[in-house]
C-alpha cells in the first residue's frame, strides 16, 4: 500500500501542485444496542478509501474514492487538481500554510483488551443484565444499553515528505432508562447520556464503568423524578457535575475557539464565534480559576492521537489561562493568519472528508476542592447532572442546557430532587461567575462521539476532561 501512496504523491508533485496530501483510512465499527431485554441491533461496518487534498495555484481541491487501485488514485489526484483549478477562479487571495515538520512515524493507541476480541456473547450478556435491572420497576418502561467499538487505521503522506501510520482503538458504552407514569416521562442515564462515555481505550474501559453496579441507582432516580417538582425559575448558585460540564466546555469554549469559525468559514452551517481576533489576549473569558487546555497528547481521551490529519504532531496548549482568552484551535492554513504554527487540530471524519479544525481533548483543568467540600461550602443552590438538551447561538454566546436531574443544596447538604432543570446564560458572563473547580479526584475525560461540523456534515470523536464546578447568579428554570 505504501508504494501505491508514494506513486500517487509523486504524480501529484509532477503535476505542479503547491502542496498535496493523501490519506488512506480503514475503519471497522461494531455496535450493539439492547432495548427492553431485546438485542435490537447488532452490526459491524468496514469502511475503506482514500482522499487527496491539493493546493494548486493557491486554491484547495479535494477528491476521494472507495476504489483503492493505482488507476483510481491517479484519477482522483487529477480530479482534485481540476477542482482546485475551479476554486482558483473564485479566490480572493492564495492560501498560505504554516510550516510543519514532515514526520515519518508509526503510532498505535494503547489498550489492555481488544474490544473486537471479546466474545459477542459476553458483550450481549452484560447489556442484557443491565437491561433486566433497569426494568425491575413497573414504572421503568424503556431500558436501553449499548456498546460501540471502533478501530481506525490511517496512512498519511504529503508532498513535503511526511509519511505517517496510526492505529487508534476506541470503546464506549452506556445505559438509560425512561420512567413513565400518568403522562409524566423522566429519564436517567449512566455514565453519561447520548450513548454513554467513550475513550481511546479497549474493553477495559467498558468494564471499569460498572454498568451493572449503577443500574439500580439509575432506575431508582428515574422513578423518583416522576414525583419530583419542576426546578423553579430563579437566579441561583449551581454546581454542574463533570458529565454536563463536558458539554458546557464543548459548546461554549471548544467550538468558539476553533479558528476556522472565527475566520468565518463555518458560517454557512454551524456559525461563527464571538472570540474574534481582537479578543485574543485581551478578553477575560472567565474567572481566575478557569484554565482551559487543548491536549491531544493526553493518554486515552477520545480526542487523543499522535498526529492530526495534516501531519502535525499532537500537542497541549492553553485556550484560557487564569480566565484570560489566550489561544485558538488552529490548522496550518489558519495558524498562518496569526503567524503561528498549527497546534494540530485538523481531523477528518473518514477518508472521504476534508480535514477541519476539530476539538481534541478540550479540558477544564482541575482546581482545589473536592466535590464534597464544594457542596459543604454552598449555602443555597442546586447540583445539576447529566445532559438532556443543548442549544447555543451561532456566535456561541447565548446558551441553554437542560439536564436530567437537579438536587437542591441547603446549608452545605444535598436535599431533594427537581425535574426538568434548565439553565441559561451568556458565555463570558457565565464563566466569569465560576468561583471553584473541583480537584483531580473528581476529574474525568468524557468522550463525546457525535460532534457535528462542516458541509458535507462530519461527525467527530472529541473529549473533555472536566470536574464539577460552581457558578453564581445563573438563570435556572427558564420561563416558558
Amino acid at each position: 500500500m505504501k508504494e501505491k501512496i508514494k506513486t500517487t504523491v509523486s504524480h501529484l508533485k509532477r503535476s505542479g501542485v503547491d502542496y498535496a496530501d493523501l490519506r488512506l483510512v480503514r475503519k471497522t465499527t461494531e455496535s450493539i444496542a439492547v432495548k427492553n431485554n431485546n438485542v435490537e441491533s447488532l452490526s459491524r461496518d468496514e469502511n475503506y478509501g482514500f482522499g487527496i487534498r491539493v493546493l494548486y495555484s493557491g486554491a484547495w481541491g479535494f477528491a476521494s474514492s472507495s476504489i483503492v487501485t493505482p488507476a483510481e488514485m491517479k484519477r482522483v489526484a487529477d480530479e482534485a487538481i481540476e477542482i482546485a483549478r475551479a476554486s482558483a477562479t473564485a479566490l480572493k487571495k492564495p492560501v498560505v500554510l504554516a510550516e510543519c515538520d514532515p514526520y515519518v512515524d508509526t503510532y498505535t493507541s494503547r489498550y489492555e483488551i481488544d474490544p473486537f476480541s471479546v466474545p459477542l456473547e459476553e458483550k450481549i450478556g452484560l447489556l442484557l443484565e443491565v437491561n433486566s435491572i433497569l426494568l425491575k420497576d413497573k414504572r421503568a418502561k424503556v431500558a436501553k444499553s449499548s456498546m460501540d467499538f471502533y478501530d481506525t487505521q490511517k496512512f498519511f503522506a504529503s508532498t513535503e515528505g511526511a509519511l505517517l501510520e496510526q492505529e487508534i482503538s476506541e470503546s464506549g458504552a452506556g445505559m438509560e432508562v425512561t420512567a413513565i407514569e400518568g403522562g409524566e416521562v423522566q429519564k436517567r442515564s449512566h455514565p453519561s447520556s447520548h450513548g454513554g462515555d467513550f475513550a481511546t481505550r479497549g474493553y477495559e474501559f467498558v468494564k471499569a464503568m460498572d454498568l451493572v453496579g449503577n443500574a439500580e441507582r439509575v432506575r431508582e432516580e428515574a422513578v423518583a423524578l416522576l414525583k419530583a417538582k419542576p426546578l423553579p425559575s430563579a437566579e441561583a448558585t449551581i454546581i454542574i457535575t463533570g458529565a454536563q460540564m463536558a458539554l458546557q466546555v464543548h459548546e461554549s469554549c471548544g467550538h468558539p475557539t476553533e479558528l476556522d469559525r472565527v475566520l468565518g468559514t463555518e458560517i454557512s452551517l454551524a456559525g461563527g464565534s464571538f472570540l474574534t481576533l481582537d479578543k485574543l489576549d485581551n478578553l477575560q473569558y472567565g474567572s481566575k480559576v478557569v484554565d482551559i487546555t487543548a491536549d491531544a497528547s493526553l493518554e486515552g481521551g477520545l480526542g487523543s492521537f499522535a498526529y492530526d490529519d495534516e501531519g502535525v504532531k499532537a500537542q497541549r496548549s492553553y485556550l484560557v489561562k487564569e480566565g484570560k482568552f489566550v489561544g485558538y484551535l488552529t490548522s496550518r492554513e489558519t495558524a498562518a493568519v496569526l503567524n503561528q504554527r498549527s497546534n494540530g487540530t485538523m481531523r477528518a471524519d473518514g477518508w472521504n472528508r476534508l480535514p477541519l479544525i476539530r476539538m481534541t481533548n478540550i479540558n477544564l483543568e482541575p482546581g482545589e476542592p473536592s466535590l464534597e467540600e464544594l457542596i459543604a461550602d454552598t449555602k443555597s443552590g442546586y447540583l445539576l447532572d447529566t445532559n438532556k438538551s443543548w442549544s447555543i447561538d451561532d456566535q456561541r454566546l447565548n446558551f441553554q442546557f437542560g439536564v436530567e436531574v437537579a438536587w437542591e443544596i441547603k446549608n452545605g447538604r444535598l436535599r431533594g430532587m427537581f425535574k426538568n432543570p434548565v439553565y441559561t446564560g451568556i458565555t463570558p458572563e457565565f464563566w466569569n461567575s465560576c468561583d471553584a473547580v473541583c480537584n483531580r479526584k473528581d476529574w474525568h475525560i468524557w468522550g463525546v462521539p457525535n460532534c457535528g461540523k462542516g458541509e458535507p456534515q462530519q461527525v467527530m470523536h472529541v473529549a473533555h476532561g472536566t470536574s464539577p464546578a460552581r457558578f453564581h447568579n445563573v438563570k435556572i428554570g427558564v420561563s416558558r
Binding site: 455496535s31 435490537e40 475551479a86 459477542l120 424503556v142 454557512s268 472521504n352 451561532d394 458541509e455
Partner: protein, 449 residues
C-alpha cells in the same frame, strides 16, 4: 454510478451463497461534490465516490447486519458471512418478521443528467456571480452549493428487486454585513431549477434590511415563521414524535392520542415519498413502496410511520419508512409536507399589529420535554420587527423556548405557497412547508447580535 444491471447481478450472485434462511442486500452509491464559500471566496471544494452495501441475514428469529463500502465480490462475500456470524450469535427477537416480499413501486423520474454532469467550473461560475452581486452592496457571501448523483438498490431472497437512481442540487447563501445577515436556500433534483438569482437577491435583501438591528425584550410575540423556520421545527417534531419507536416508547406528543385533537385545526402534516412536489423517493431501505401517511390531519393525530418490524407489532402494514438495516427499530418520515393555507407572506405581514418576522432558526433542540414538544432555539440570519402591518427594522437575535404543541395550536394563517426545504436526508428527502403566522410565541432570552 455502478448501474442497475451490475448491482442486481452482483448482489444476486452473492445472495445465492448465503447460508442464512433469508438475506437482504442494500446498496447506496454516491458520487457527490460540494463547493463551500465564505468571505466571498471558495475555501473548500470537494468530491466523493463511494458505495456502501449492507447485508441483513435472518437465522430463525435472529438477525445480524454487516456492511462494507467495497463492491469487490470477495469483500461482499466476507461481509455477508460476517452478518451471518452476527445473526448466529444474536438473541432471538420474537417479533422479528420475515423480510418483505416483492411489491411494485411507482416509477418516478428522479435522475437528471444535467445535474449529474454539473462540473466544479460550473459551480464556481454560479458562485462567482453571487459574490459579484453582493460586492455591489459591500456584503460578503458564505454558503455551499452541492450537486450529486446516487443510486439505491434493495435485493432480497424473497424476490425484492428495487433500484432508483437519484440526483440532487442544493444551494444556501448567507449575505453578511458587519452587523447583519440574510439567508436563502434552494433544493431540487434538477440543478437548472435552482433560481440562483432569486436565492442571492433574497439573502442580500434580508441582510441589507436587517442592518443596525435593535434590541427588543424577550416575551410573547406574534410571529411569522418563514418556510425555513417552519421546516426546522417540523424536522424536530418528526425526530421526536412521528416514528413508531417514539410513539410506543411513550415519549411522543401523539403517544396514546391517535384520533384525538392535538394541534390546531388548520395543521395537516403528512409524509409522501411519491409526491414530486418534494424530493421524491419511491421505496424504503427494505424495498417497501412508500405510502402517503397522514401524521396530523386537521389537528388530529392520525398515525405514525412504520417499517416491517414495528408494523408487525401493531398488526398493520409497513408504511415504507425503514431506514438502513442498522436501525431496525427506527422507521422515519423523510418526505414531510405541511399543508398550506390560503394566505400569503405579504398578507400575513399586513395583518400583524406588532410582531416578528423570522427567516430561520439555529440549533433547535427538542429534547426538553418531548411529550409537550417543548423546544428551544435561536433566531438567525434575518429577524425583523413588524409594526402596524409593515416590516420596520431588524432586531437582535432571540432565544425561543416554547411547546410546539401549544404553538401549532395557535397558528392563525398559513401561506398557500410552499417551499422545498433541505433536510438531514439530502438526496432522499426534504420538507415542504408554508409560512405561518403564530400567536403568542414565547421568547425566553436574547443575545448580543
Amino acid at each position: 454510478m455502478i448501474g442497475k444491471d451490475k448491482i442486481f447481478s452482483t448482489l444476486e450472485a452473492i445472495l445465492k451463497k448465503s447460508p442464512a434462511e433469508q438475506t437482504e442486500a442494500v446498496l447506496i452509491g454516491t458520487t457527490s461534490a460540494l463547493t463551500r464559500y465564505a468571505n466571498s471566496t471558495i475555501h473548500q471544494n470537494v468530491a466523493e465516490t463511494d458505495s456502501k452495501v449492507y447485508f441483513r441475514t435472518l437465522v430463525g428469529k435472529r438477525m445480524g447486519v454487516a456492511s462494507t463500502n467495497s463492491f469487490v465480490p470477495g469483500d461482499l462475500k466476507r461481509t455477508l458471512l460476517n452478518s451471518y456470524y452476527l445473526a448466529e450469535n444474536q438473541r432471538e427477537n420474537p417479533d422479528l418478521p420475515e423480510l418483505p416480499s416483492k411489491t411494485p413501486y411507482p416509477k418516478l423520474q428522479t435522475y437528471l443528467k444535467s445535474t449529474a454532469s454539473f462540473t466544479p467550473r460550473q459551480r464556481a461560475d454560479k458562485v462567482r456571480r453571487i459574490f459579484k452581486k453582493a460586492a455591489k452592496y459591500d456584503l460578503d457571501i458564505a454558503g455551499s452549493f452541492s450537486t450529486s448523483q446516487s443510486e439505491v438498490a434493495v435485493v432480497n431472497s424473497r424476490g425484492v428487486r428495487a433500484y432508483q437512481p437519484l440526483t440532487g442540487a442544493s444551494m444556501n447563501v448567507i449575505a453578511l454585513s458587519p452587523d447583519s445577515s440574510g439567508y436563502a436556500e434552494g433544493l431540487s433534483r434538477r440543478v437548472g431549477d435552482l433560481d440562483f438569482e432569486a436565492i442571492a437577491d433574497t439573502a442580500i435583501k434580508k441582510c441589507l434590511d436587517s442592518k443596525n438591528p435593535q434590541e427588543i425584550k424577550p416575551g410573547r410575540y406574534d410571529v411569522i415563521l418563514e418556510p425555513c423556520a417552519v421546516g426546522s421545527i417540523i424536522e424536530w417534531l418528526n425526530y421526536i414524535a412521528f416514528g413508531a419507536r417514539q410513539f410506543h416508547e411513550g415519549t411522543s406528543f401523539v403517544s396514546g392520542k391517535i384520533g384525538k385533537k392535538v394541534l390546531g385545526e388548520n395543521i395537516t402534516i403528512y409524509d409522501d415519498g411519491n409526491d414530486g412536489g418534494g424530493i421524491a423517493f419511491p421505496f424504503d431501505f427494505e424495498g417497501v413502496p412508500k405510502k402517503r401517511v397522514y401524521l396530523i390531519q386537521k389537528g388530529i393525530a392520525k398515525g405514525v410511520v412504520h417499517n416491517s418490524l414495528t408494523a408487525i407489532r401493531d398488526e398493520v402494514e409497513s408504511t415504507g419508512h425503514a431506514l438502513t438495516p442498522e436501525y431496525p427499530e427506527d422507521p422515519m418520515a423523510l418526505n414531510l409536507f405541511v399543508k398550506g393555507g390560503n394566505s400569503s407572506l405579504r398578507r400575513m405581514i399586513s395583518s400583524v399589529e406588532r410582531g416578528l418576522l423570522i427567516t430561520r432558526f439555529h440549533y433547535i433542540n427538542g429534547y426538553l420535554d418531548t411529550t409537550k414538544a417543548l423546544m428551544t432555539g435561536m433566531t438567525r440570519d434575518g429577524t425583523f420587527l413588524i409594526k402596524e402591518g409593515k416590516v420596520k427594522h431588524g432586531v437582535k437575535n432571540l432565544r425561543f423556548t416554547d411547546s410546539m404543541v401549544r404553538a401549532f395550536s395557535n397558528v392563525v394563517t398559513l401561506s398557500r405557497e410552499r417551499q422545498v426545504i433541505n433536510s438531514w436526508w439530502q438526496d432522499i428527502g426534504c420538507l415542504v412547508c408554508p409560512a405561518m403566522l403564530v400567536k403568542n410565541f414565547n421568547f425566553s432570552g436574547k443575545t448580543e447580535f
